[in-house]
Every structure is written in structure tokens, then in C-alpha cells.
Symmetry: C2
Subunit: 451 residues, 2 copies
């Protein structure tokens, strides 16, 4: 959505080269809103506007621009000005942004920025995607444990512009190994005893993320413990960076979307829906769609082999969609419930037997209800002159496929989790596909038995 409220004024000020007006615009508004009001400008115009304000608010506003516009600015605006901005970005955002730009431009920008930022980029960009290392930021307040709270406060005040967060302060030893954490809250509370040493107030039973740890596990820890930030360490316990609450929210949302896509049999998109190219979108869906096609083909082959049975009782055919959709839907429900519960850690592999008992009970109850509905429906649709036992075919099939659906939909995701696979691969269409095949076999065999 493009906010056009200030667009005419901005364009006018740009045409008149009204630096003072543009600076006021950038500084009076919250950076998020300033970025929003510029969404109608192209990237050259946007750059021209934010060049008028001071460095800090330029960085702030830039960070809230659309991803596409950020990339465009980095790729097309004057390289010296861009390098200047890049050097001032928070390290984690810098890596995310630079990884998306054109290689020649990237080399040029890296050759101009200060060596410290260049090394930082090179180090951070080595960590594999979706690990703690790839999400962390490196600008953290490091202190030593012999400082007093008074000295620590002064130290923080002096260097405050360099840190992304000052709400936790990290106490390290001479080898940069993490010894403890002091919160800004403790420091402020300690203002009445200015000579207390950090050693005496720091928390040393720490919750940590390892640099190679999966971002989802890290996010779960932060969410469980209500942390503002979690320190990231290597195997020598050296402090490499921190992951802050805002990045954790992004991870939680990203992982939830990935899960939802997998459950819906779409390979998770790396970008948002409208930004994904049609070919990528088709491939990420086509792969699963073809796979599911072959599953459905098995059902077709099975039905083809049962042609003689179907020929004898033609009315059976009309119920095929009802039978397979009932099994598929109950299976989808179970798979959805169990996959989301596994990812929230509400269900673990050790709960398998509890889950089976629950799903069996729910399956019998739901299957029983659908069986009753199916019995009534079959009274109207089945032809006259059939043996009494034939009236049991539809209800018994429905009961059986619903129970199969609940059991398969719940057990397979747990089985995948137990062997270390992502349970969400057991997508609801895949569960439905498996239950379809079993459903047809049950249906035809019950018909042979009772018809």
C-alpha cells in the first residue's frame, strides 16, 4: 500500500532543492512513518531526501524502506555515499542487504568501507542461513567484571551510539569468553551503591545460543524465557554476538509461515508471495503436485483393478468422492494439529502413545458421527433390492477411513520428528493421498464382503 499523503510536498521540495524542508521532514517524523510517506518516491528521489538529514536518522529511515527499494538504492546510488551508509548499518542488517546485491557492486562497496566493517561482513556472511550466526548482530556492550556499577554506567553512556542494544551488558574475560550478564535495570537499581562490582551482581547461570544452532530453537528459547536478547557463543564459549527480540519475532513469523507452506504442500518461499517469480512459484508447487499426482495414480490403478466389483454395484461409484474426502479431511485435521503442536513443543516424540489414544478416540467419535450421516444419505442414494447388509457398506467404510485418517495424520508426523526430519513435510495433501489409497481398498473390500 502506497501512502501518498505527503507525496506532492516531497516532490515540490525536491524540485526546489529545499534542503531545510526535507531535513525537517526526516527529523520531525518517526523513521517508520517517514519511510512510509516516501513509498511513492523512486529510489533516486528517496536517496536525495534522506541525504539531507544527519547520518543516524538516515540509517534509521533507510532500514524501514521496502526491501526492493533498499536493494535498488545500494545498487544504483553513488557508490561512495552508499558505502558510507553501509558502514553505519547494524551488522546483521548489513549482511542481509549486501547478500542480495549485484556482485560487481558488492565488491566495489566492500573495497571502500572501513576494514573493520569489511571483516565483520565477511565473517558474518560465512554462517549458514537459518543458524544463530546468520541472525546475530555483533555490536554489543562488552564489560569486564571488576568494573563498578558507576564505572559501567559511564562506560555505557560514553559508547552508547555503537551498540544496538544497551539493555543487557555482557561481562567477558581477557579471552572474550562470556562470564555473565548485567541488565541495564540492575545497573540503574545499583546507582545507590555505585561501588558494587559487576562480578557481584551479574547473572552467571546463562541461557546461550550456540553459533551453529538452528534459528527456530534459539527463537523458542527466547520466547520461553521472555528474553530481550540471547548471547551467541562458539565452542570455546567466546562471545560472538547477540540475537535481539526484534530478530526473534521475525524468526518466529518466518518459521510459522514456512511450516504453514509445508503443511499446504508448497516448498517454503524464500521471498514474499508477490516477489517470488512465477517460475520459482511453479517449481515449488509443481514438485509436490506431481509427487501427489503419482499417489493419486495408485488410487486410479487400484480402482481400475476393481472394475468388475464396481460394475456389479454401480451405486458404489457415486460415494467414492465422499469416502476419500472424509478420510482425507480427518487426516488433514490430525496432521495440522500434531505438526503445529510439535513445532510449539506442546507434543514431543515421547507422547506418541498418548497421541494415539486421543486420535483413536476422536477418530471413533467423528467416524461414528459421519457413519450415521452416511447411513442416512445412502438410504436415499442406494438402489432398491439390495441385501440388508449392503446398508452397512457406507457407514463402516466412513468409520474406517476416518479412524485411518486420524491415526495416519498423527503418527506419521511424529515418526518424521523422531528420525530428525521436519514433520511438516508430512503435508496435509500427502496425508490425504495416503488415506485415499487405503480408503479405496477398505471400501471395495467391504463391498465385496457385505454387498
Amino acid at each position: 500500500m502506497i501512502n501518498t499523503l505527503y507525496l506532492p510536498e516531497l516532490r515540490e521540495m525536491l524540485a526546489e532543492n529545499d534542503s531545510a524542508g526535507l531535513r525537517d521532514f526526516c527529523e520531525a517524523l518517526n523513521p517508520v512513518r517517514a519511510a512510509e510517506f516516501m513509498s511513492g518516491l523512486d529510489s533516486a528521489e528517496t536517496w536525495q531526501v534522506i541525504q539531507q538529514t544527519d547520518f543516524d536518522s538516515r540509517v534509521d529511515i533507510f532500514l524501514y524502506l521496502d526491501d526492493d527499494k533498499k536493494t535498488e538504492i545500494l545498487e544504483t546510488c553513488p557508490v561512495e555515499e552508499v558505502a558510507d551508509l553501509v558502514a553505519g548499518l547494524p551488522p546483521d542488517d548489513r549482511v542481509d542487504l549486501l547478500q542480495n546485491i549485484d556482485q560487481t557492486r558488492l565488491k566495489k562497496v566492500l573495497s571502500i568501507i572501513p576494514i573493520e566493517e569489511r571483516r565483520d561482513f565477511q565473517r558474518l556472511s560465512q554462517y549458514p542461513e537459518e543458524t544463530a550466526g546468520a541472525v546475530m548482530t555483533t555490536e554489543i556492550a562488552r564489560l569486564t567484571e571488576d568494573l563498578t556499577t558507576h564505572e559501567a554506567l559511564n562506560e555505557i553512556a560514553r559508547q552508547i551510539e555503537e551498540y544496538e542494544t544497551i539493555y543487557y551488558l555482557y561481562v567477558v574475560d581477557a579471552e572474550d569468553r562470556l562470564r555473565g550478564i548485567v541488565s541495564a535495570r540492575q545497573l540503574l537499581a545499583g546507582m545507590r551503591q555505585p561501588d558494587t562490582r559487576l562480578h557481584d551482581i551479574m547473572e552467571s547461570d546463562l541461557v546461550l545460543a550456540h553459533v551453529d544452532e538452528d534459528q527456530e530453537d534459539v527463537a523458542n528459547k527466547v520466547a520461553k524465557m521472555d528474553l530481550l536478547a540471547i548471547p551467541v557463543v562458539d565452542s570455546q564459549h567466546k562471545l560472538l554476538g547477540i540475537i535481539t527480540h526484534d530478530d526473534v519475532i521475525d524468526v518466529v513469523r518466518e518459521e510459522a509461515t514456512e511450516d504453514a507452506h509445508r503443511i499446504g504442500a508448497v516448498d517454503p518461499l524464500d521471498e514474499s508471495y508477490l516477489r517470488t517469480s512465477l517460475l520459482t512459484l511453479s517449481w515449488k508447487r509443481g514438485f509436490w503436485l506431481s509427487f501427489l499426482f503419482f499417489f493419486a495414480l495408485i488410487t486410479t490403478i487400484a480402482l481400475d483393478n476393481y472394475e468388475s466389483v464396481m460394475d456389479k454395484w454401480k451405486w458404489l461409484m457415486a460415494f467414492i468422492p465422499l469416502v476419500i474426502s472424509s478420510g482425507g479431511n480427518s487426516g488433514s485435521q490430525s496432521a495440522t494439529l500434531i505438526i503445529t503442536a510439535l513445532s510449539r513443543k506442546h507434543v514431543e516424540v515421547s507422547d506418541l502413545s498418548k497421541v494415539v489414544v486421543r486420535e483413536l478416540s476422536v477418530g471413533l467419535l467423528l467416524g461414528g458421527s459421519l457413519a450415521a450421516l452416511g447411513f442416512i444419505a445412502s438410504l436415499f442414494i442406494m438402489p432398491a433390492g439390495l441385501p440388508a447388509s449392503a446398508f452397512l457398506i457406507i457407514p463402516l467404510t466412513l468409520l474406517a477411513v476416518v479412524v485411518c485418517g486420524t491415526l495416519i495424520g498423527s503418527v506419521l508426523p511424529i515418526a518424521f520428528e523422531s528420525i530428525g526430519w521436519d514433520p511438516a513435510i508430512m503435508s496435509t495433501p500427502l496425508v490425504a493421498g495416503i488415506v485415499d489409497i487405503i480408503g479405496i481398498v477398505i471400501y471395495v473390500n467391504l463391498a465385496i464382503l457385505l454387498g
Copy 2:
């Protein structure tokens, strides 16, 4: 998962009434871990352990216990001790917890706690669930704008125990209307100019939540702006409370799970999977399952009416599961993608035409591929002696149902969003059900035309 590492020691200390040992256990560990190590104790034992430590760490550890155990403690432990604890809980947690306990106990507890906490509970518990008011906490640092940074720092240090967060400080006027926000970071940075007034450094272009606003919208704002907390105001702009980053993470996870459940055709559970009673679980699934059953019944009735066509070309029947699952799966994929994109605000109602063009293109591409696969499969399964045009029935049907699936799966959620309904109600099984009916009609009519 129950952590049993310290269980024998804890039980021994309890048996020996070793207060010092139990206090050490509570105080040396991080409260999260202390709570985890007590997961094997029953609620009376847990209460006995945390009674040994000071009030603050008792509250901290209590908050990290399992929900069931918290409720049990509040309902069964000595009412005076419980009331003492309840009075010290953060207001938002207090409301959540007290709303789950037995009514007689609740009245007793409320009658003992201080009047201020009682009123606070009564006020907070009036806000409807899932609104900003129901999630906010009321313990916030309020300051007036004529304070200097030095006075403000002292004020905060003095009252620090009363606030849930001190990282944002709220500047209000005499009528408690919110005028601006100062961050602890700004205060610390301002230590070098101790006489600056808050008025001169406070941010007054504020991002706010209205007390009646939906929690999902509030969470989206906080996530977009990377906030630590968002102030909640009423229609007179009076400051009522704040919502902090940890509650936002909970909301994001809760809403993502609710969406996933709806997409999977389960009415969202209020509690975690294993805690939901079998009857509730059956009802929340059975409702949708029966609804979908009637959809499938329409397909059955349609097929029953087409019996004469099916009788003429018996081989058509074998392909029914393939045809309906292909349409259903492509529809599920589109619905999943569009529903998640709508909830992340990656797609808006105004993008409808863009989405239709994309889905039509993807549908043609995917439908074309499945048509090719279906053509090959039908060469093997179709009987000999059919007219050449009959070999087009399966490919053309597949192409048509996949395109229908992508269009219905994408347009219906956007249509729901545009009339203010939750697009996730358009669950993937419901999309599949609708596409099934259309698919059968297309299939049979193409067969009549080309067979």
C-alpha cells in the same frame, strides 16, 4: 518432558526440611531452570520449595512453572500465602491465571489481596479476549515532562522494582494523557547533560495501540517497527498500559497457530493439544468435518445423476480420485499461500488483479504439466477402441481443475478478507471440497463432449 536431574536431592531436602539448601537451589539457578528442575514435584512440594526463597525469586520461578501446576497451586495451597503471591504478580499474568481458577477460590483470594491489585484485576479482566487491553500490563514508569534527565534517572532507580520494563519511560500530563516516550538509552546517553528536560529529548510522534484494537494488529505494528513495547491508550489518549515484546512473541505464535488450525479446518484450540479435552477436540473438528461431508455429498449426488454417462465409459470412474485430488491439491496450495501472505500483509485486497494473473499463469503451467502426465497415464489405463478425441478427456479435465483450483483457492480468501471475515476460514479442505464439485461437473461434461 520432565527434568529429573535434581529430583532426588530436592526430595531429600524437603524430607529433611533443609530450608537453607532449598533457598540456595532457588537462588543460584536461573528461575527458568529452577522451574524446570521442579517439574517432577507435585504442586504442594513445589510450593514448599519456593516458600523458602525471597519474594521476588518466588514470583519469578512461579511464573515459569507449567500452566497446570500454577493453577493447581493457586487453587490448593494455603489461601493467605497464595494471595500474597498473587498480589506480587505482573498484572497481565495475574489476570490470565486468576481467570482459570475455581470461582469460590477466586473470590477468597480477591478478598484478601490489597484493594489496588483487586481493582486492577477487575479492570483488566473486563477487556475482551484478544484485544490490546487483555494483553497489556499496567506497571509502567510514568514521568512528567519538566523533569531533568538526572531527576528522571533517580526517580527510575528509586521505583525500579515496581515496573515490568524500564527501557521505555512514559511522559504523561496531569490528566495522564500520553505526551511522549523517552528510552532508557536516551536517559543514559543524556547523563553527560544532566539538566536537559525530558520535554526536549522525548519522542512525540508515537506509535500507539488502542485498548480495543485486535492483538494481531498490535503485534504486526510492534514487529514492523522493532519496538520493545507499545503504549496502550483509550479514546481520550489516556495511558492505560503497555504491551511488551515478550507478550508480542506470544501473540505472534498464538495467531500463527490459530491460522494454521483454521487452514487445516480445525476450529482453533484455546489450549495446547494435549490439554484440550477429547470432547472439545471432537467438537472443534466434527463441526468442520460434517460441514465438509455435506459438500462431498453434493459431489456424490452429482455423480449419481451422471450414472448413465459413467455406465457408458466405465474407465472414467477410475480417474475420479486423480481428477479431484489434483484440483483439491492445487487449490490447497493457493489457499495456503494467499492466506499466509494476507496475514503477513504481503498481499492486500487491492492486489486482487495481480494475484489472479499470477495464479492463472501458475495454474496453466502446472495444469499443463499434470495434463501431460495424465495423458501418458491414460494411454495405459484407457481401454482400446475409443475415438481419438477421448484421449483428450483426462488431460483437458486436469488442466481445467488445476486452473479452477488455483483461482478459487486464491480469490475466495481475498474475498473473505475484503468483507472483513477471517480469510483462514476458507480452509484448504473447504477449497478442495468446492473444487471437487466443479471438477466432477467439468469431467463428466468433457466426457460427454469428447467421448
